[in-house]
């Protein structure tokens, strides 16, 4: 199956996925090589390479074959042959939109945020970050993934540490070490996985697809391996109680850093859980689902409550991320097509809306040089358009229907309800809290009569508006018409689920279909599962 | 006879060794060392290592200890050391553990294995005769057959020693020290 996909990919003469990784990397080098005399050239080079990457990702989106659950545009080459490590890239419905999000978010972050000093290395780091994130989302080789997953830390470390705010070094170090400790375990997990799989594969291979197709781990082994992976991802997500690096990192990071961190970096964790946790170890994932569901729900509530009490606007948004990511984990471990698709969708939605939120908070900081909620007041009166933009993004974050945040959240919840009822019952109260903390913050910042310091708050400028426009466009579009996205996500999510059902014997309670289509119901029967397995890449 | 020799030599060795570690004056320690070295030489003879016995006396007692004494005198560090005082409280207990431990365990190991010593000898060299030449010859043969590389390699070692001595003791040029 993967071979078929690979064959399909080879028809394309242009290795688009490899280019997606390499173009930003080349851009980073090119940025560094530009002369110091012409800062605008430096910026131009950076913007150009990120825009090219973004364009390629959109082209990828356009030529993605809807309905195909397998990996597309596969690029597979030998790399470190002696260890069975290969350069294996591919994209499916689960990773597609994250790739596109990455491609779109970076140019916006580059154009939309100003580092204030040392622009050249700043841009180079951001582009390197883009290459790393792209690589992480595209890798289909465990080591290759690890490589990108880990290397992402370096640019982020420097972005926070050099261009961040007063506590930046502490935050950057915490971020780096915390994530690294997770990945340390994952590396052991990766190696062990490949070695144990080699007994069944006949050779050591770190190829994700090969291992997933060819190896079946004993239950106890699989669980250990799963946890080795899951802890790394849980830190990255971040799942309660491993989340405390996030507020610090977010708060101290420069605006672009926060945008990217929230927008795509956190998704590495949730994406990893889906792609490497559930896909490789379905049995273990099912076995441990209650732990993850519980932690996810605790995270939803905990993050929301903690967010309510924050005095720093950026910290508040950071905690809201903890809550939102909880929904994604909830969906992932509910193991229904709706929930997983919703989770994937929510990854993108959260990236868009929280990214935009950080952008806006960054703009507030640019103007007022404070993020303290207490020092802001009445901004809506002096900057109504700014407030309106903030409002739209905030409503998306709250999960108001018609905006993108709702679609993912709703699909997660409704999908999870059949398999994780009580978690959903409790987790759904998070939507109440989301309204509480965001509206309260909005009230304190935007409502009221502006005091002297805030009355000179500058209205949204054209350039800023142009940056925000795509975000708001996406927020509205994905909320009103999410079908194109769902159509592409669903087959892959379903294939993953079939795999879970087949390997772990897990099946969601059958939904009773009153009248309308019951044909989609693949049930728990082995035959149906086998058939649909054929679509899987 | 052998017993007497052994006991006497052992006594020399141990007395000398203990002398080295308890004599407060380094000169005395060095002289105690000579005693030990001679005792070892005697035992070498008892074990029919005549050549080594000679080398032991010449190199160790004759050269090394002299060098020691020379340095002591050169540096004028022949002050006595108050070994009744130990600045580190745990040092002596640790030393006792180390000394007794090493001695006890090695002795125990050696005793436990006493019957199998020699079992591994693949070579049936005839018992060393009383002929003094023979030992030297055997060593020479051994030296220039099996150990010819090692023998030649000692040149490197000695070069290192020489160059090292030169590097270490040459006068400091350009005066000022930096610390």
């Amino acid at each position: 199956m993967s071979l078929l996909a690979a064959g399909g990919g080879e028809v394309l003469s242009f290795p688009i996925l490899t280019a997606l990784v390499l173009v930003p990397l080349i851009g980073a080098v090119a940025t560094l090589l530009t002369g110091a005399r012409r800062p605008e050239v430096t910026k131009l080079v950076a913007v150009f390479s990120s825009v090219v990457t973004g364009g390629m990702s959109l082209w990828l989106l356009a030529s993605f074959e809807t309905g195909d659950a397998g990996f597309q545009f596969v690029s597979k080459h030998e790399w470190i042959q002696s260890w069975g490590i290969g350069w294996h890239l591919g994209v499916d419905g689960i990773s597609l939109f994250l790739v596109v999000l990455t491609g779109v978010l970076f140019p916006l972050a580059i154009v939309g945020c100003d580092p204030h000093h040392d622009e050249k290395p700043y841009l180079a780091w951001i582009l390197m970050l883009e290459a790393g994130v792209m690589g992480s989302f595209l890798s289909l080789d465990l080591v290759l993934f690890f490589l990108f997953f880990e290397i992402v830390l370096v640019p982020m470390y420097f972005l926070i540490g050099r261009w961040g705010y007063d506590q930046r070094v502490y935050a950057a170090t915490k971020f780096f070490l915390y994530t690294m400790i997770g990945s340390a375990l994952m590396l052991v997990g990766i190696v062990t996985t490949a070695l144990l799989a080699s007994d069944q594969l006949g050779r050591v291979s770190f190829d994700l697809v090969e291992i997933a197709e060819g190896a079946n781990f004993a239950a106890s082994t699989g669980r250990w391996l799963f946890f080795a992976f899951a802890i790394a991802f849980a830190v990255k997500v971040p799942l309660f109680p491993l989340h405390t690096w996030l507020p610090d990192a977010h708060t101290q990071a420069p605006t672009a850093g926060s945008v990217i961190l929230a927008g795509v970096l956190l998704k590495l964790g949730t994406y990893g859980l889906v792609r490497f946790g559930v896909y490789l170890f379905p049995e273990a994932a099912v076995w441990s689902r209650e732990i993850f569901l519980t932690l996810a729900v605790i995270g939803i509530l905990w993050g929301a409550i903690a967010a309510t009490m924050q005095t720093d606007l950026k910290r508040l948004v950071a905690y809201s991320s903890v809550a939102h990511l909880g929904f994604i984990v909830l969906g992932t471990f509910a193991f229904t097509t709706e929930a997983i698709s919703g989770g994937v969708m929510q990854m993108v939605n959260h990236g868009v809306s929280t990214g935009a939120l950080f952008l806006l908070v960054g703009m507030i900081y640019e103007r007022r040089h404070t993020r303290q909620i207490a020092e802001l007041k009445g901004l809506q009166k002096v900057a109504p358009i700014f407030a309106a933009a903030f409002m739209v993004v905030m409503l998306s974050s709250i999960g108001v229907p018609g905006l993108n945040g709702f679609v993912g959240e709703f699909l997660v919840l409704i999908g999870s309800f059949s398999t994780a009822r009580w978690w959903v019952v409790i987790g759904a109260t998070g939507v109440i809290l989301a309204a509480l903390y965001l509206l309260w913050a909005y009230q304190r910042v935007f409502h009221g009569e502006p005091d002297e310091a805030n009355s000179s708050f500058r209205e949204l400028r054209l350039r800023e508006g142009m940056i925000l426009l795509p975000f708001i466009g996406l927020i509205v579009f994905c909320g009103v018409y999410p079908k194109p996205m769902l159509d592409r996500i669903e087959p892959s999510a379903k294939a993953l689920l079939v795999r879970v059902e087949e390997r772990a014997g897990f099946s969601a309670p059958d939904v009773i279909h009153a009248g309308d289509d019951g044909s989609d119901d693949h049930g728990s029967g082995d035959h149906g599962a086998d058939d649909s397995h054929g679509e899987e890449g | 006879m052998e017993l007497v020799v052994f006991v006497l030599a052992a006594a020399m060795i141990l007395v000398g060794a203990i002398g080295v570690i308890v004599r407060r004056n380094p000169v005395h320690a060095a002289l105690s060392l000579v005693l030990t070295l001679f005792g070892v030489a005697v035992l070498f003879v008892a074990q029919e290592a005549h050549f080594l016995a000679a080398v032991q006396v010449i190199v160790y007692a004759g050269a090394i200890v002299v060098l020691f004494l020379f340095v002591i005198m050169l540096l004028g560090v022949d002050r006595t050391e108050d070994i009744t005082i130990e600045p580190f409280r745990i040092q002596r207990p640790l030393a006792a553990i180390v000394g007794l431990g090493v001695i006890g365990l090695v002795v125990a190991s050696v005793s436990a294995s006493r019957d199998v010593i020699g079992r591994g000898s693949g070579l049936e060299i005839p018992a060393v005769t009383g002929d003094g030449d023979s030992n030297i010859r055997q060593i020479a043969r051994n030296l220039f057959s099996d150990h010819v590389f090692a023998f030649e390699f000692t040149s490197v070692l000695l070069t290192v020693a020489v160059v090292g001595a030169v590097m270490l003791t040459r006068k400091v040029k350009n005066g000022k020290g930096v610390s």
Binding site: V143, G161, L185 | -
Partner: protein, 504 residues
């Protein structure tokens, strides 16, 4: 029976090609000494250049030998005392390259510190010869001689900055403890000799393979093994024999430190592997747990102690203990029956680490400025502003030491972890990885100093960091290798895997 007196001495056949690298180096060292003594002073970098030139033929011949081993298989030469196999040759190549790099990097150091020219270079070369003998010794006598040659040279190098008391202190400490440990090692050899009747590694290995010990007969053998491990553990700076390392690394002149960390470690580990795998594989069940404990203790204690330091050289010393622990994990893995990952992974680690560490210490030596005293974290403050390229190079080294992907450090760690996992030593692997995260703190601290710290008053009055060509070359080469080997490690992995076939 007539005495054997008159029969001609049974000279062993001499495989001249096999010892040509040593001869070339020795000859070169002597020429350097003589020329240095007899001719007027050369421009100083010429000595370094000469040393590098000297290593080239040695390197070429080592390559030729590498090929020969590929065709003809590994052999023990000159009366079976010198093993010519790929383990030895890889070590030789590593040692030779590291020597060339250290020589290059010390050029600037010696000029700045106004220390002598030719002797130091000769000393590096002689020590390298000792290291080479050590790495390929198939005979305990040669092993001991090689070890002592290397060690004595290192004592001298450590103490060679005559105007720094720290240097002398480190020399003295190294010397006293080194002598102490050598005595244990030698005693171990003696006991092994007693238990097996031979000092030849291959013979010993064969003997032990065939021999069956009953109820405590092997006590002497094991006592010898214990004492041997003390000596080897000391040399590789593994916990609990590591105490000298931080003091010596910190006090010694920085190029000497980098020499110790690269050549010293490489040779010592090569010999450790050889002794354990050629002479004592049949006792693997006995020594493996010890190596296991040493490995874990080294990674943990090395990392933990590293993070509380403020002196960069000292940090790196502790981190080198941690790295030794990682290599020991490979050694431990190699002790499992039928293992094919342990030895290659250790060797790979050593190869990558020795280049890495030379690069790191070269930067440190540049930053330490005149007097070699500025090695605390503060000395690195603002390096990114003053010398961005140098800071970038150091960053690469530090990330590599932390094991970040795309650098050789990741490949090294990956290999070792893989070896451990292959033998189901998951606990070791996990502990080691977590310790490496702890160790990352120290690399981060250095990076914080370089990149993220604000300048403090007085910083602008400091001496500027000079980057002469030779040092820049070393850093560039090391960075290039670190990155290249990090991205395309295949050839090195294959090479280290070839080393599996040892002379037995």
């Amino acid at each position: 029976m007539n005495n054997v007196d008159n029969s001609p001495i049974d000279w062993p056949s001499i495989d001249w090609l096999a010892i040509t690298p040593m001869i070339v180096l020795l000859g070169g060292a002597l020429v350097l000494l003589v020329v240095g003594a007899l001719t007027p002073r050369w421009p100083r970098s010429l000595y370094a250049l000469a040393t590098v030139v000297l290593t080239i033929p040695a390197l070429v011949i080592e390559m030729v030998l590498w090929n020969r081993v590929g065709h003809e298989g590994p052999v023990a030469v000159i009366g079976d005392v010198l093993a010519v196999d790929r383990l030895a040759l890889l070590a030789w190549i590593g040692i030779t390259v590291a020597t060339a790099l250290v020589a290059l990097s010390s050029s600037e150091y010696l000029r700045r510190e106004q220390l002598d020219g030719p002797e130091s270079y000769a000393m590096y070369v002689l020590a390298a010869i000792g290291g080479m003998a050590l790495a390929s010794a198939n005979e305990f006598v040669v092993l001991f001689l090689g070890l002592e040659t290397l060690s004595i040279a290192l004592y001298v190098l450590a103490a060679s900055h005559r105007r720094r008391v720290e240097s002398q202190e480190s020399g003295l400490k190294y010397f006293v403890l080194g002598g102490f440990a050598s005595a244990f090692l030698l005693y171990g050899i003696a006991l092994l000799y007693g238990a097996t009747g031979t000092t030849n590694l291959s013979t010993m290995g064969r003997f032990l393979e065939a021999e069956v010990f009953v109820n405590g007969d092997d006590a002497m053998l094991l006592a010898g093994l214990a004492l041997l491990l003390v000596g080897l553990g000391f040399k590789v700076a593994a916990v609990p024999f590591h105490f000298w390392t931080p003091d010596v690394y910190q006090g010694a002149p920085t190029p000497a430190t980098s020499f110790m960390a690269s050549v010293g470690k490489f040779a010592a580990f090569a010999t450790m592997l050889r002794v354990l795998l050629v002479a004592l594989p049949s006792r693997a069940d006995d020594w493996r747990p010890v190596i296991w404990v040493m490995a874990i203790a080294s990674v943990v204690i090395g990392s933990i102690l590293a993070v509380v330091q403020t002196d960069v050289k000292r940090m790196l010393a502790y981190s080198s203990i941690g790295h030794a622990g990682f290599i020991l994990i490979g050694v431990e893995a190699a002790g499992h029956a039928g293992d094919t990952d342990g030895l290659p992974s250790s060797l790979l680690y050593l190869t990558l680490y020795s280049v890495l560490v030379v690069g790191t210490f070269t930067v440190v030596s540049l930053v330490s400025r005149t007097g070699d005293g500025h090695t605390d974290l503060a000395a690195f403050r603002g390096l990114s502003k003053e010398r961005p390229a140098l800071a970038l190079g150091m960053t690469v080294f530090l990330f590599a030491q932390a094991g970040m992907p795309v650098t050789s450090g990741f490949v090294a760690k990956f290999g070792v972890i893989k070896a451990a996992a292959d033998n189901r030593s998951y606990a070791v692997a996990i502990v080691a990885m977590i310790a490496s995260v702890v160790a990352a703190v120290l690399y981060l601290r250095i990076m914080i100093s370089m990149w993220l710290s604000d300048a403090e008053s007085g910083d602008d009055q400091r001496e500027k960091v000079a980057v002469p060509f030779t040092s820049a070359l070393v850093v560039t080469v090391s960075v290039a290798f670190t990155l290249f080997a990090g991205i395309f490690p295949g050839w090195l992995i294959d090479a280290s895997r070839d080393a599996l076939v040892l002379v037995r």
